[in-house]
């Protein structure tokens, strides 16, 4: 989540659900909060009961809108215009929280004189290297796995801040210097006007002004506004910048780090936060430590630490966490003499995320595939391509509790199983009730759960699977003397269960795994009480620094804590980092350390005790007085003053302008989605110039603005169903038994569709049939030049397995992704719709000879993951 990470310092929600009840206004945008997070929504209803204004901005009138005080429609994919116009309104009317902005953000920092904005370059920032215009080799030089466009990048050298001779940042606290961030911001968003909101978003101006007034009136010393978003903001080719726009607005309004404020990033699955924390992403180790990359020249430990250790701020501690992690991985084998086995780690050669790897698989470059707790053939995009790619595998392992579209990809309509050579394995998985362990929820909070019943049949837990797989691999290589097998043999793997019955079943001890993640003293084996004890000399081991403190001694597991109260509940579970519930909470006090107001008291400086105190764990050095001056030239936290609340950042402040860390610009700019119904009204540049696309015969695009696909399509989940397992539950299946789309009555009349009829939705990728649910909850919008825009809603939870029936939306969505986090675009698409059912799917590609891998322009096959020219 680099949108939040680059703005504030950490890639997680800045607040926690329970705190929403303290908000005076809640803006829900890019999220169907009530439907997708019904349990967390109780705190929104509580806020409403306390008099807060609830605003829902969304293309569809949903169950969230029904509960909101104000529903604001907009065209899907235009949130940067909507939020950018609010930023412009706030700046023009000087409604920002000026004291907060000056003290806690980088609004006063001066940017390099060489910086050029989108205002100057018609939609591009300075530093644009358009490799696409060059021919041959240089274009290929930037290609990742699976090919695809997206070669061009920004050189960020002109985005940097100016510095004084002593190394400190140059600032203008009056915010009047034309080169200060505040003035650049003002110019940048000056074209994001209410008129533009009407022309681009299709949102009536009165509604827009009501939102502006509500936000500004509820953002000051006495009052706070919270934002909540979910995948409605992320699944776009410009998604990260949506979140950046919200972050800028919240910084301007002075709401970050304060009770009832912040940005609530709603996670869609029970443990999705935990999955990114303890690293299922290809380019991150536990605790968001990057995997070494050849592209960044990180072949040695020294070089790696040099690029990743920040001179100032908390990330100055980087080597402590990284070396402790290597000690946890490789135990006694990791010594100072061998760089703590740094050479054992893989080196990244390019983008190996899901989408490029899927293309590589389709091109025959991937031999084997593990799919665990995922169902890409339904929840992925261009699902026919994914399934066809799986046809070319040698082997495929699926671990799931239910047979699903991915495990039985060879049963799909039109497939000829006799011609598919993939050897398939299906391993039954234990469900959450059949195993113990922790789940990290959207509050960044770990909660332990016991096993309620024994797994059915031969089902095993995921921990069992990986533990036994590791043991078997180690046994296979036990006698090897080949140096390349050392990483596997030196890997620490001592998680034997102390419970005899579980040990005989082969279940590892999840408690021991968590103890290793927590970290311990190598010499004594004593548990670390927190990440502050991590050392960079090999004397400590710590598997995932951000979780450190969860098991502070041999007996305690704080994720088991169950003493709650009405608010922060510090004795319920354990939230990373260091059990803090609200991040950056130093900002809840003014620069002098006093609460901004009695009403919004949270964490403050206790003068008599000379320490920070409050209702939460302070997100600040405990005894650092507010008056502490910054030491110019100092390293780490000493470079920050006692009034710099964003401790992870270089300058200790919230970043309105992001100098590095983002691939598509230091400030958000509106680009239309890959496929749209209108030309970009703001700039000549139509799409995000850095997006990645694969324009090939098996992944065709509708085109930027194509009259054959005149309708906007957006996808989402509904409360009743989530994944394949919900489709197998009759009680859930009867609530939403069949795939459907939601269309407005005007479009229904135009297309001759009656409520409940079958409709066929088509894109360049393919077509699907679903029932039409005609409802005035979908509203046609009027945008520029009187153009009437119809939006079609399509839930993406249906498939062929389970009690429900219907086509999967993934069959009409092409693959394309954003440059920062490699996420797909599934929230804004274009399509056509007609009454009636689709034709049966016939013969598909695997009948033909398996084609050669697609070749690069100079005729060389693209080898998966290898960057040419390196």
């Amino acid at each position: 989540m680099p949108g939040l990470g680059t703005s504030f310092g950490r890639g997680g929600a800045t607040t926690f659900l329970q705190d929403l009840q303290n908000a005076d206004c809640i803006l829900i945008e890019g999220s169907n909060f009530a439907e997708a997070h019904p349990v967390g929504f109780r705190f929104v209803t509580k806020a409403k009961e306390r008099g807060a204004k609830i605003i829902h901005v969304d293309p569809r009138f949903t169950r969230t809108s029904a509960l909101a005080d104000l529903y604001v429609p907009l065209r899907s994919g235009t949130d940067i215009v909507f939020l950018g116009a609010i930023i412009n309104w706030v700046l023009q009317n000087e409604r920002d929280f000026r004291e907060y902005v000056v003290a806690y953000t980088n609004a006063s920092s001066l940017v390099s004189a060489d910086f050029r904005d989108t205002e100057d370059l018609d939609g591009l920032f300075s530093g644009w290297n358009d490799f696409a215009r060059d021919s041959g080799a240089s274009a290929m030089a930037q290609q990742g796995a699976g090919g695809g466009r997206g070669e061009s990048t920004y050189d960020t050298s002109t985005w940097q801040f100016e510095r004084n001779p002593d190394g400190t940042l140059r600032r203008d606290e009056t915010l009047t210097d034309p080169r200060c961030v505040y003035q650049i911001l003002k110019r940048h968003f000056s074209r994001y006007t209410p008129r533009m909101v009407e022309d681009v978003c299709g949102t009536p101006r009165e509604l827009f002004f009501e939102v502006c007034e509500s936000l500004a009136a509820n953002s000051c010393r006495e009052r706070t506004t919270a934002f909540a978003y979910a995948v409605g903001w992320t699944q776009h080719t410009v998604g990260v910048q949506y979140i950046r726009t919200a972050a800028i607005l919240q910084l301007l309004l002075g709401n970050v780090g304060r009770p009832g404020g912040g940005i609530m990033a709603l996670r869609g699955h029970a443990d999705i936060q935990g999955a990114t924390d303890i690293a299922t992403l290809y380019d991150l180790f536990p605790g968001y430590l990057p995997v070494p990359s050849i592209q960044r020249d990180e072949q040695t430990l020294a070089a790696y630490l040099k690029t990743n250790t920040k001179p100032t701020g908390w990330w100055n501690n980087f080597p402590k966490y990284f070396i402790s992690m290597l000690k946890a991985f490789f135990g006694d084998a990791a010594t100072a003499g061998n760089d703590y086995c740094f050479d054992y780690l893989p080196q990244l050669t390019g983008d190996h995320s899901t989408i490029p790897t899927t293309f590589a698989m389709k091109d025959g470059e991937v031999k084997g595939y593990f799919v665990i707790g995922q169902n890409p053939v339904t929840s992925g995009q261009n699902t026919e391509l994914i399934a066809a790619a799986m046809d070319r595998l040698e082997w495929f392992v699926n671990v799931d509790a239910y047979e699903n579209e991915t495990s039985s990809f060879w049963k799909r309509e039109g497939a000829q199983p006799g011609q598919i050579g993939t050897e398939c394995f299906f391993i039954p998985a234990a469900t959450i009730l059949e195993k113990e362990g922790t789940v990290t929820n959207t509050n960044r909070m770990l909660q332990f759960h016991e096993k309620a019943v024994e797994p059915a049949g031969e089902a095993v837990s995921d921990a069992w699977l990986f533990y036994q797989l590791g043991k078997k691999l180690k046994a296979l290589y036990a006698n090897s003397t080949d140096p390349k097998d050392r990483p596997l043999l030196d890997l620490t793997w001592d998680y034997e269960n102390d419970d005899e019955r579980e040990r005989l079943r082969g279940e590892p001890s999840v408690f021991k795994i968590m103890q290793e993640i927590n970290g311990f003293q190598v010499a004594t084996g004593a548990q670390l009480t927190g990440f502050a004890e991590c050392k960079d000399d090999g004397s400590t081991a710590c598997g995932g620094w951000i979780y450190s403190g969860v098991c502070p001694d041999k007996q305690t597991h704080r994720a088991r804590n169950r003493r709650g109260d009405e608010y922060t509940s510090l004795d319920w579970g354990f939230a990373w980092p260091a059990n803090r519930r609200m991040l950056y909470n130093r900002a809840s006090a003014d620069p002098a350390g006093r609460p901004w107001s009695e009403r919004k008291k949270y964490v403050w400086w206790d003068e008599s005790a000379q320490k920070w105190t409050g209702v939460d764990v302070p997100d600040f050095p405990a005894n650092k007085a507010p008056s502490t001056p910054a030491k110019p030239g100092a390293a780490g936290m000493d470079a920050h003053s006692g009034a710099d609340p964003f401790i992870m950042q270089l300058d200790g402040r919230g970043q309105i302008f992001v100098a590095s860390g983002l691939k598509d610009g230091p400030l958000p700019a509106h680009y239309e989605p890959l496929a749209s119904v209108i030309q970009n009204q703001l700039y000549k540049q139509q799409n995000n110039p850095t997006l990645r696309e694969w324009d090939r015969s098996d992944n065709p695009y509708n085109g930027q603005v194509n009259p054959r696909y005149p309708y906007v399509l957006t996808t989402y989940r509904i409360t009743e169903l989530s994944g394949v397992y919900t489709r197998y539950i009759p009680w859930l299946a009867e609530l939403q038994p069949e795939a459907f789309c939601e269309i407005d009555p005007e479009l229904a009349v135009e297309k001759g569709l009656k409520n409940g009829d079958y409709a066929t939705i088509s894109t360049a990728v393919g077509e699907i049939e679903v029932r039409a649910l005609v409802s005035g909850r979908m509203r046609p919008l009027r945008i520029a030049k009187g153009q009437r825009v119809h939006q079609i809603g399509l839930p993406y939870i249906f498939g062929n397995f389970g009690y429900t029936s219907g086509d999967t939306s993934g069959d009409v969505i092409p693959l394309a992704m954003d440059p920062n986090v490699s996420i797909h675009e599934a929230k804004t698409l274009t399509c056509d719709i007609r009454a009636g059912r689709r034709a049966p799917r016939g013969r598909v590609a695997q009948d033909d000879a398996v084609p050669e891998p697609e070749r690069s322009r100079d005729g060389q096959p693209l080898i998966h993951g290898r960057e040419a020219g390196v």
């Binding site: 929504f41 209803t45 169950r63 809108s65 029904a66 009680w731 009867e734 409940g756 409802s775």
Partner: protein, 280 residues
């Protein structure tokens, strides 16, 4: 002294957790898989095997097709003070239990169905008799029951009789909150002593009216023949809007008129008979 539900429609988010929790706890089967096109409502009504039902009502702006209000309400058996079903039950299967709730004793009910038309709200319904095949019946005797069999197992014990909300009689006996109220994430469904709930509800109405919401209670201080409802509602629209009768009528209130008419007819027949015989 009775326990009941206070269902506050202003807090309902239409998640249907109550429907699912009810079916799970009471081991009720799915009613079938039919896409209705009626907003997000695919179960449509309370039945012998659907004891909580969330209604979705879309309201259009006058003169347009635009929906600007989407009302949701979780409906349930009202556990009336004067219950039509109880009056009609010839076997004494329907009783008022120790928690003050209207309860159908499954082992006494003979499935005559008299209660069905006697409910002013259309709540009670007969559950289809369950006839397992010989092979299935043998399976039910095995110790390992999976989820599907459990719900069908419930049918086996309940099928062929009348079914409706028991206010989780079994849970109450264990001191638990009924499943629907327990599962409700926004406290739209509250369970408790009816007098306490009424006090809470009246306060809630006051607060909502202060905020300009046209709130009213349904089933509290009623003057209808059904009397107060142990499961009452807070509504912001007229009752008909949610498919509730504005003035529910107990079928037995028609009895005096019915008997009078019958007596009159009998008298008329007697007179006519006498006239005929006298004429001979």
């Amino acid at each position: 002294m009775a326990n009941g539900f206070f269902t506050d429609t202003t807090l309902c988010i239409g998640c249907k957790a109550c429907e699912v929790a009810c079916k799970q706890w009471n081991e009720l089967p799915s009613d079938g898989l039919a896409f209705t096109g009626m907003s997000y409502d695919n179960t449509l009504r309370l039945s012998g095997t659907t004891w909580r039902h969330v209604a979705f009502v879309e309201d259009r702006e006058v003169g347009t097709t635009i929906v600007n209000r989407w009302s949701m309400m979780s409906d349930v058996c009202k556990h009336c003070t004067h219950a039509g079903c109880m009056e009609a039950c010839p076997t004494g299967a329907i009783i008022r239990n120790e928690f003050g709730d209207v309860y159908i004793q499954p082992d006494v009910c003979n499935g005559c169905g008299y209660c069905v038309p006697s409910c002013p709200f259309g709540v009670v319904d007969l559950i289809e008799p369950f006839k397992p095949s010989a092979a299935k019946a043998a399976e039910y005797n095995t110790a390992t029951l999976d989820r599907e069999r459990l719900s069908e197992g419930a049918l086996q014990s309940h099928g062929g009789i009348a079914g409706k909300c028991t206010l989780c009689y079994d849970r109450q006996r264990l001191g638990f909150t009924p499943a629907c109220a327990k599962a409700c994430p926004t406290e739209s469904i509250q369970f408790g002593n009816v007098d306490d709930l009424k006090a809470r509800a009246r306060k809630r109405v006051e607060r909502l009216r202060e905020r300009g919401v046209d709130a009213q209670l349904y089933g509290v201080d009623e003057t209808t023949s059904v009397g107060d409802l142990n499961a009452f509602f807070l509504l912001t629209q007229p009752p008909e809007h949610y498919n509730l009768p504005a003035r529910p009528v107990l079928p037995s209130t028609h009895q005096p008129a019915g008997y009078a008419a019958a007596a009159l007819a009998a008298a008329a027949l007697a007179v006519a008979g006498l006239a005929i015989f006298r004429g001979r």
